[in-house]
Assembly symmetry: C2
Homo-oligomer: 319 residues x 2
Amino acid sequence: MKSLVVGGAGFIGSHLDDALLARGDEVFCLDNFSLGTKENIRHLEGTSKFRLYEADASDMGQLDSVFKEIRPDNVFHLAANSDIQASAQQPDIEYRNTYTTTFNILACMHKYQIHSLFFASTSAVYGDKGDALLSEDTPGLEPVSYYGAAKLGSEAMISAFAHMNDMHSLIFRFPNVIGPRLTHGVIFDFIKKLRANPACLQILGDGTQTKPYIFVKDLIDAILFLVPKNTLAFDICNIGVEGSTSVRTIADMVCRSMGLKNVHYDFTGGKTGWKGDVPKFSYDLRKVHAKGWKATHTSDEAVRLTLESVLGKPGENNR
Amino acid sequence: MKSLVVGGAGFIGSHLDDALLARGDEVFCLDNFSLGTKENIRHLEGTSKFRLYEADASDMGQLDSVFKEIRPDNVFHLAANSDIQASAQQPDIEYRNTYTTTFNILACMHKYQIHSLFFASTSAVYGDKGDALLSEDTPGLEPVSYYGAAKLGSEAMISAFAHMNDMHSLIFRFPNVIGPRLTHGVIFDFIKKLRANPACLQILGDGTQTKPYIFVKDLIDAILFLVPKNTLAFDICNIGVEGSTSVRTIADMVCRSMGLKNVHYDFTGGKTGWKGDVPKFSYDLRKVHAKGWKATHTSDEAVRLTLESVLGKPGENNR
């Protein structure tokens, strides 16, 4: 089975490469290294069933030649600008890296008659729905970030291509994903800031922002379990975990893991961390549970496991 | 008041130009003449408050220079590939003419600090929901055409820009729009076919496709009534009429208007006219009615008025 992982050198993509290789696939990893890194896939160098293509999926010429050569059986599309804060100043990053990559991948799948797509979407498509429990049937999606907008637009275009061309597509709306090889986000930021200044930690917002965090290996497990089962042209699943974790709790856990005490928290204030941030959300997970999948780890456990993987277990001196 | 009408030489756009000039606006009409025509705006030549820009909104450089020069107060975005059948073979038309135009307009509005946007969307964003009454809160939008997908993606991007930059945006989801200056669609096609062969009419599908048709002047009336009232960052309204009209009824009305009898109908068969067509839909119009607007003409009346405007009143020999 030939699997093309677009964004395969990224944080999540590289874990997917590992899992696909472990189940015996030939894995073709395409990445432009805008957020992905060679470091993430260094351990796969020399693996006979792994091949890397340094190419930009937002460039139709480059993408087409990769599709032409590989003609994969499955496409896993994880290429995007996943750093919402970064694109808040430059929405064209989302136009190019998130939306255009999707359009180009769909056009190539249509051209080369490839029928199976997995797409990484996001809770950001819902916008800010306050305390509402978000299900796949929540109406009135109103993204407040360019990232969420480009992902929702991508979902829509996948729907059209799938219905027009008899494809099978499965879309996961990810919550926050964390774990080894993390490249940005609150845990990453806190560790970086505390390494620079262990006495004081600047926290964006008021620290009450509370979201579910999924451990990356749980997420990969869900992809491998559910993609082969999909028989629909277009299906969307919220993917998530039990519980959620506040930014303040994360700050406490990071400090503890780093062996730091009496760190002064300097809150920037306000409900949201930055413009375009959704401070709080919870998923209705009945759909994915009914499909027979459940996360192994809770949100708090995912934070703990991530800290262990990045910093080592408490007491170890590996900073 | 300076109003920029993107797609202002098109079927609907040119009627909007007329109405905006009638209320006293300075009207800046931007069109690339892909579907719009010089004929549609010929009557406005020499009007002091009307200015035409031949430019392509999918080209950021061209669009930026128009925004820089005009710095409009309001933007009305009606530029799109509105011919769903045409783009079914070439989805990149939708990527460029429908989605990219929206992104570029939003980027320019952000750059030049313009805060009021009207956007022409479509029933095609819902996909095929069978007999369900479609309201703005209908969940699970699943477009089956590239056109519907690019419009839904555009709505999402408008939401993000509006929330990020304190804009006011109003989105109408149009049903089928008909009237003078029509350039495509079932009425246009039937007249063309019957002029070529008055004895036989090929009808796509089984003729039971049934949709609401709005008369273009009703639609323009709604835009002018509702845009100035909008105080929200992002608001979506289904816009429509009482009743709906089947394709077979339209065939009968066209034949009668053209004075043709015993025309043989040759149905291509199947529920839909073409792949990507939604054969039937009905709108829940409570939201727009609650805002104080109602269409003057029913769907059947819109068809009759359109035929009169294109063919002349029954009995007149103006074919």
